[in-house]
């Protein structure tokens, strides 16, 4: 178990990294699941990462709205019992954006690994 101060540093680092990757995560999930609603996205991320990544509502909705404004996501609203639910899905532009984002992320991870684990020559 890490000491409390180190745990704090790692949790914050994790949050920063997560915030920076949030757009990629949302687009990838929507590509795999066709359409999702906000809460479902937060739960899916928790499930896929065994509760390691927790997306806060304060970070998720601004990201969803930003992507919607950029034309990467579109939404539709449906009634579910006594309230309405907004579902997000990828637009055509979003599909092409996904390819670029995944490539960027792969390159980033590869380069980070080179920095963190330099091969001995």
């Amino acid at each position: 178990m890490l000491p409390k101060n180190l745990r704090y540093i790692f949790t914050n680092m994790n949050k920063k990294l997560l915030r920076g990757s949030l757009e990629t995560i949302v687009i990838k999930l929507l590509s795999d699941n066709q359409e999702m609603y906000g809460y479902e996205i937060t739960q899916k991320v928790k499930e896929l990462t065994d509760d390691d990544f927790k997306i806060t509502e304060g970070a998720l909705y601004p990201t969803l709205h930003k992507l919607e404004g950029k034309g990467i996501l579109e939404c539709s609203t449906r009634s579910i019992g006594n309230r309405f639910r907004k579902y997000y899905s990828l637009t055509e532009a979003g599909q092409s954006e996904l390819v670029i984002m995944l490539q960027d992320m792969e390159d980033y991870i590869k380069n980070m690994q080179l920095i963190l684990n330099p091969r001995l020559s």
Binding site: G38, Y39, E57, G58, Y61, P62, K66, T77, N82, R83
Partner: protein, 235 residues
């Protein structure tokens, strides 16, 4: 599937969201669904937890500013969306097939201007002034109401009207501004000038057409497609 919150509890959530200064109904719906989904899941895991405790816990996941950043980002996103829609219309005249119409209009105006007409640039802009006044007349007769209720109740209409006011006022800015700064002397247009003036007039006419006829249709279409559940009435 978790057990759904009762109608009464959903109404309490609406009251709660309103008490946190979210006045736009369309935004309230999205936040309420999120809060309700979280509370339902919490109650499914621990049935003894009360509605109030669950709500407090769910709300603590939001930042210290509450829902403010969410509303602000939604506002930016909608403004960006309306800007994109209007410029999408304008730029469509740069692509096939509409570029043929724009090209023809430019050619016709260029022919008129290069024909040695004895006119001043100010007189030329009369065309645009007339078009601008016609657009006001049309809006007055057939446009929807700009009442406070309609403007402030929904974020989608609020952002639309803010952007609409900007592009509609440009209908007057274009011709009047240019008419005032143009030389009062009669000008015989050389070929380059006549092409430039022709392009300018056509861009202004397309802008006036877009802001008068096309952009209001975009709002109606948007409300029908994405906000039909709110039953927003525009005259």
């Amino acid at each position: 599937m978790n057990e759904q919150l009762s109608k009464n509890e959903v109404e309490m959530l609406f009251k709660f969201v309103k008490s946190k200064y979210v006045h736009y109904i369309d935004v309230q719906h999205e936040i309420v669904d999120h809060l309700a989904s979280s509370i339902e899941e919490m109650k499914a895991k621990n049935p003894s937890v009360s509605f109030e405790t669950a709500l407090r816990q769910v709300y603590s996941n939001f930042p210290i500013t509450g829902f403010a950043s969410l509303v602000a980002e939604k506002q930016t996103s909608l403004t960006r969306y309306w800007t994109k829609r209007f410029w999408g219309y304008m730029l469509s005249y740069m692509r096939l097939p509409k570029i043929i119409i724009a090209g023809l209009l430019v050619y016709i105006f260029q022919l008129i201007l290069s024909n040695g007409l004895s006119i001043t640039p100010s007189q030329l802009y009369i065309v645009l002034v007339i078009a601008a006044f016609c657009s006001v007349g049309y809006r007055y007769k057939y446009g929807f109401e700009f009442n406070k209720d309609f403007r402030d109740k929904y974020l989608v209409t609020s952002t639309y009207l803010a952007f609409y006011a900007g592009i509609f006022s440009m209908n007057f800015y274009f011709p009047l501004n240019m008419a005032l700064v143009s030389a009062p002397e009669t000008v015989v247009f050389d070929p380059v000038q006549s092409w430039l003036f022709a392009i300018y007039i056509v861009v202004c006419l397309l802008w006036i057409h877009g802001s008068t006829f096309i952009f209001p249709k975009m709002l109606k279409q948007e409300l029908e497609e994405k906000y039909s559940h709110l039953n927003i009435k525009i005259a």
